[in-house]
């Protein structure tokens, strides 16, 4: 992981001059020799720096949610609760929260706010958009995308608003981190350089492919984007403490973190509605706190096992999630209605909430020392999934398909009952209904629930006006070889209220399940419909004919093939010649 010192050597006085034109005059400038790309680093410098900083505690950041509404308003609320604050300023890009500050930019002015109160700390003339911020309580380091979109600008501003250091470079400089006056700057998605803010010099670097952002969590510093590598004694070694979330095929392919090279617009993107939230362990082996990560997809939040990727819980919300953060024991998720909901990491139960008080367009949440868990017993996963499957919003369909597959795969017999209820109540959206029926047909457990449902019949007199999902139940019960289903299927076979597609599937099931007790019903069906010209019904007749043959009533079928009252379609399904032509019946 050692790397040749290459790029930031180009950070030169000339660039500083252009930076000054953007940010105005102020503090120290970078030293030309600080990033000498002729120097090589075998990791020794970074290891030494880590050792030097190991005893330095990183101050815990403010626990706060900040929402953007409209083109010039911010609203924030501490996660512990309290009165929301608002701040009016043109907003050109998504604000960023780090440490105890919120940094925003608009109309060529960058401003810093106290994250807990919304009080303005400083303002500077500046353009571009913010990629990331680091703050140690005394100095705020901002990485910004230049107005022309190329390269990167980094400025360090003290609490008085004075620029104490500024860097401009042709490389993409990502979101910074900071410990005790040392700024960690990921750049070009390959390196992380440690920069001495006071000296204005790069003092170490490490090669971390894919790292575009540095961030502090739980008192530790991490680098990464798709994974998180802890800044510890292994950071410059091949066996760095790196954690990655298990891959799940979720709709919209949510990411754990945005690229630190991107500056986000004020309003929420699709990637804000579908996102992963996890908190890497600050100490010990690489891992995720509580072994749990969360994923959001619109109005649905899900908890997954961070080692296996197995779905653990589902929370269905009444508004779309726009942002959030993982904390010790849970997740703080901010929605479009301006509420922040705390979900217990283990169970997904709601542990509390905070209110921004106004619908918002985007939301940024920072949770560091915050913790809030719920004592509620976990809701059965099948019920929680069913709740999400009942969402009527068309944009929920992709995540509903994902969850339906999860429900179908549950070994729990009661999951069959959940599926039956979803089909019976037509609870799933229209676009998903066929998938739910298919899922029910694919179940191979829960026969008792299926039989109970199959025993229900349409009965106008009793006000029982719904028809059970005969087709999927027939498929499943036949596949399970459940012979107790035969008499019930025979009843539905003959009931005209059974949809013809389900009749075909009931007949198919009876072909294997029917016993002698079903002979009268089978004979009755065969007699009534052997003349049908309709394909699904003809298929059903053919299944029934084969059942009759299996049960020793083949002569009835053979006799029917000899008279002219059996349709050619039915004959063809039974491999018999058409009426009027000579040939033996099958």
């Amino acid at each position: 992981v050692s790397a040749p010192l290459r790029l930031p050597g180009s950070i030169a006085i000339t660039l500083v001059l252009s930076a000054l034109s953007l940010f105005g005059c102020g503090g120290g400038q970078t030293q030309g020799a600080a990033f000498d790309n002729t120097k090589r680093d075998d990791g020794t410098a970074m290891t030494a720096l880590q050792k030097q900083l190991a005893s330095v505690s990183i101050p815990r950041a403010a626990d706060v949610a900040v929402g953007v509404f409209g083109e010039r308003s911010l609203v924030g609320v501490p996660l512990e609760g309290g009165k929301p604050w608002t701040f009016e300023h043109p907003i050109a890009c998504r604000p960023v929260v780090a440490g105890g500050v919120v940094v925003g930019v608009g109309t060529d002015e960058m401003f810093g706010l106290d994250a807990r109160t919304g009080k303005q700390l400083w303002a500077r003339k500046a353009g571009g958009c913010i990629r990331g911020v680091a703050d140690d309580g005394r100095v705020t380091v901002v990485s910004a995308r230049p107005v022309n979109g190329r390269g990167g600008i980094v400025i360090a501003i003290d609490r008085e608003g004075q620029v104490v250091r500024q860097i401009e470079d042709g490389s993409n400089i990502g979101a910074p981190g900071m410990i005790d006056g040392f700024v960690f700057l990921p750049w070009d998605g390959r390196y992380v350089s440690a920069y001495d803010l006071a000296a204005g010099d790069e003092i170490a670097r490490v090669q971390l492919p894919g790292a575009t952002r540095a961030f502090a969590a739980g008192g530790a510093l991490f680098f990464g984007e798709r994974s998180a590598t802890r800044f510890d004694e292994h950071v410059a070694q091949a066996g760095a403490t790196t954690v990655t979330l298990p891959a799940r095929e979720l709709p919209d392919h949510p990411a754990w973190m945005d690229s630190g090279n991107d500056a986000l617009p004020p309003g929420a993107l699709v990637s804000d509605r579908s996102r992963l939230y996890a908190r890497p362990l600050a100490t010990g082996a690489a891992g995720i706190v509580g072994d749990r990560y969360a994923a959001t997809s619109g109005r649905v939040a899900m908890g997954f096992d961070a080692k296996t990727g197995v779905l653990a819980w589902v929370h269905t919300h009444d508004a779309s999630f726009l942002g959030g953060a993982a904390y010790e024991g849970g997740f703080a998720l901010c929605d479009a209605e301006g509420r922040v909901t705390y979900l217990d990491a283990k169970t997904g139960a709601v542990a509390g909430s905070a209110v921004l008080g106004i619908p918002i367009d985007a939301c940024v949440v920072q949770a560091d020392a915050f913790t809030k868990t719920a004592a509620d017993a976990p809701r059965p996963l099948r019920d929680a999934i069913a709740g999400a499957l009942r969402l009527p919003h068309p944009d929920a369909e992709p995540i509903q398909r994902f969850l339906l597959a999860e429900l179908t795969a549950l070994p729990d017999e009661a999951a069959t009952e959940t599926l039956i209820r979803l089909v019976d109540e037509s609870a799933a959206p229209v676009g998903l209904a066929a998938d739910v029926r298919s899922a029910l047909g694919a179940r191979r457990s829960g026969a008792s629930f299926m039989l109970t449902t199959l025993a229900q019949r349409y009965d106008y007199l009793e006000g029982a006006l719904h028809v059970p999902p005969v087709g999927p139940l027939a498929d499943a019960l036949a596949a399970m070889g459940e012979k107790r289903a035969a008499p019930l299927l025979a009843v539905h076979l003959l009931d005209p209220v059974t949809p013809v597609s389900d009749v075909e599937r009931a007949a198919s099931a009876l072909e294997v399940l029917a016993g002698p007790a079903e002979l009268p019903a089978l004979q009755q069906f065969f007699a009534a419909y052997r003349e049908t010209p309709d394909l699904p019904l003809a298929m059903a007749v053919a299944h029934v004919a084969r059942a009759l043959e299996r049960l020793g009533s083949g002569d009835l079928v053979a006799s029917a093939m000899r008279d002219p009252y059996t349709s050619d379609l039915v004959r063809s399904k039974l491999g018999a010649p058409a009426a009027g032509t000579k040939g033996p019946a099958k």
Binding site: Y458, D459, Y460, L461, E462, P499, Y529, E531
Partner: protein
């Protein structure tokens, strides 16, 4: 042999019963023609996929409220026609025309129906069996009440109303529970015709569920107590159903108790008011029961315009001067003493 003897010795009773039945069927026919379609709209009917259009291959003579006079028939010839596919339709039509005289052909038609025919021939066979009217045919006809083709269901219900018997009653009771509103109405009418008292609880429930054709059927087959209960909610029914119920009660044999009938007349008169004096006049002309009932009908027919009560279940004044005591415990399924 025994059956033949009963038919002969009970000729007068059969005539009476048939006369009542003909009137009831006439009403049923009117109901089915004029009001079933309207009723079904409010009966929670659900259209079924795969069902043939109602206009297609509608059953013919079974829908008729009265049986056409049976024509002379060559049973041997018809039997031969029934044995050949090419002449089967002709044979079925002839058997239907012959009505009960073709009773010996019923087993052959039943056999054909049990094995299965084309839709047109199924309809013809059902009509023929209905016209023949043998209760033994009901078992074969019954499954067709559940057919996916609405015309076949309708033809089966009409046939069962004519063949009667326990199998018919069972099948028609199932028909009350169907998703097909027309079938529900026909089943309600058919159960009145089939004369199965065990169906009354289902018919009563049917009224609750909006199958109003069940009311005249209860009037036709219910016990005095059941009819009395029906009277209590008669004013919740449309006028035509009230009138049909009254007529069914008036023409029952053995007759219902006079007191009950007087209350029924008063109830309907109260509901219909002065506008239907001609209706009561017609009823009076066709009524052959007790003098007191006939007198009450006459009084209703000649009630002064202002005298017609609107909301009273009390019998007309001239019919209640000496009201007979209500039967204390009428025999189940029978009317009180006239």
């Amino acid at each position: 042999m025994k059956r033949t003897k009963r038919a002969t010795t009970g000729g007068r009773r059969i005539t009476w019963r048939r006369r009542a039945t003909i009137v009831a069927l006439g009403l049923a026919g009117l109901l089915s023609a004029a009001s079933i379609s309207a009723q079904t709209k409010g009966s929670g009917a659900t259209p079924e996929k795969g069902a043939a259009p109602a206009s297609k291959a509608a059953p013919k003579s079974s829908a008729s409220p009265t049986k056409a006079p049976a024509k002379k028939i060559d049973l041997a010839l018809v039997s031969a026609q029934l044995s050949a596919p090419a002449t089967l339709a002709l044979g079925l039509a002839d058997a239907e025309s012959a009505g009960s005289k073709a009773k010996t052909l019923a087993p052959r038609i039943e056999e054909l129906l049990a094995k299965g025919l084309t839709t047109d021939l199924t309809l013809a066979a059902l009509s023929a069996l209905g016209a023949i009217g043998a209760p033994t045919s009901s078992a074969v006809i019954a499954p067709y009440v559940q057919h996916r083709n609405a015309d076949v269901r309708k033809a089966a219900a009409l046939a069962l109303a004519q063949t009667g018997g326990p199998d018919a009653a069972n099948a028609l009771r199932k028909g009350l529970r169907s998703s097909d509103a027309t079938l529900r109405s026909l089943s309600a009418i058919g159960l009145g015709r089939a004369g199965d008292e065990q169906s009354v609880p289902d018919l009563s429930r049917a009224i609750d569920r909006g199958i109003l054709e069940a009311a005249p059927s209860i009037g036709a087959i219910g016990s005095a107590t059941q009819c009395d209960e029906l009277l209590a909610r008669l004013d919740k029914l449309p006028i035509d159903k009230q009138q049909a119920t009254l007529e069914a009660m008036l023409h029952r044999k053995p007759a219902l108790g006079t007191d009950l009938l007087l209350r029924a007349i008063a109830k309907v008169q109260a509901a219909t008011g002065e506008l239907t004096r001609a209706y009561f006049s017609s009823l009076e002309r066709n009524y052959w029961g007790t003098a007191r009932v006939k007198k009450a009908l006459d009084a209703a027919a000649h009630a002064p315009k202002s005298a017609a009560p609107k909301d009273s279940a009390a019998p007309p004044q001239d019919a209640t001067k000496t009201p007979p005591p209500a039967p204390k415990s009428p025999a189940k399924g029978k009317g009180g003493t006239p």
